[in-house]
Point group: C2
Chain length 151, copies 2
DNA sequence: TTAATATTTCAAAAATATTTGAAATATTGA
DNA sequence: TCAATATTTCAAATATTTTTGAAATATTAA
């Protein structure tokens, strides 16, 4: 696959792109990989509507290198009906495991698994009172849950 | 497990909870399941700090019944590094599969799988230009991605 | 002590999601 | 028409996540 690169434009998404005379570039570094096979003997074949500037390309490549693992981790934890419902409940009231078990209508061990994930993600925590564990949203959990605007 | 229920309080989370004299209730309907074994011969054993009002309980139970499947579905789609990075890229610029393949540094079939999930979730779509498919964020995708405040 | 209770942990089983590579499809250009 | 290209589809192999039930832990109550 080969890509044609057009001259600089004023910041991706800004609208107004001026199209400079067609000119195939062969840049160094990261761009090399992306545009490797694009040169004179090997002319680029791309659809006419498809133009992309060096600036935009670089911007996208920079984004690609950003670490998304934290975001993914939190999204993974949130993307489960049981865990979402636990969070919803705890937003209203701190609840002990025994009540959650009844509310969720499930086995202790199952609930416990999900509570563990939520806790490991720092979204909830619990305090002990005798034999009972009473779970609550953490401050950061409260914030995240709110900022995701999920509920 | 048995739960002790205390008198009405003014809306969960409003602060100021007045604690009426201890009184075990045995309500009907949904509450029955939750509080089934809580009566005179079978006195409730809960930790002293743990009080919950009928109102709060009802509120939580109502929440439990709400359907979260749409939210879960979208969160599931978002909770993958590859898909997140695709979305990030498409926020900057519409991109054809061939460029995405290079950016993501992966096989076509793999990329295609993730594009499909994103498309099925209505977050992205594509237009065809000859042999090329050029993917873009949908309007609703744009909105969702923004509202989740992920990037 | 001992028994009962609330909860977690663990490992195996089951369910889901992802990756892989080959083959299919559709479009272009000769 | 035919070959080349861009992309998707498919089914099998892998990997990850979730469920299950039994056993472990820790606390209370007797």
């Amino acid at each position: 696959m080969k890509i044609q690169i057009f001259g600089r434009d004023a910041e991706g998404g800004e609208g107004l792109k001026m199209e400079e005379p067609e000119k195939v570039r062969k840049p160094a570094g990261v761009k090399n990989r992306l545009l490797a096979s694009c040169d004179q003997e090997n002319p680029c074949k791309i659809p006419p509507s498809y133009k992309i500037s060096m600036e935009t390309l670089e911007k996208v490549e920079r984004l690609m290198r950003e670490d998304v693992s934290d975001t993914v981790a939190i999204l993974k934890v949130l993307s489960d009906p049981m865990r979402l419902r636990i969070l919803k409940a705890l937003r209203i009231e701190d609840l002990c495991v025994c009540v959650l078990v009844e509310l969720m209508n499930c086995e202790y061990s199952k609930l416990s698994y999900h509570l563990k994930l939520l806790k490991e993600a720092g979204l909830i925590d619990c305090t002990q009172d005798g034999n009972f564990l009473i779970y609550h949203l953490t401050e950061s959990g409260e914030k995240k849950v709110t900022s995701f605007g999920i509920f």
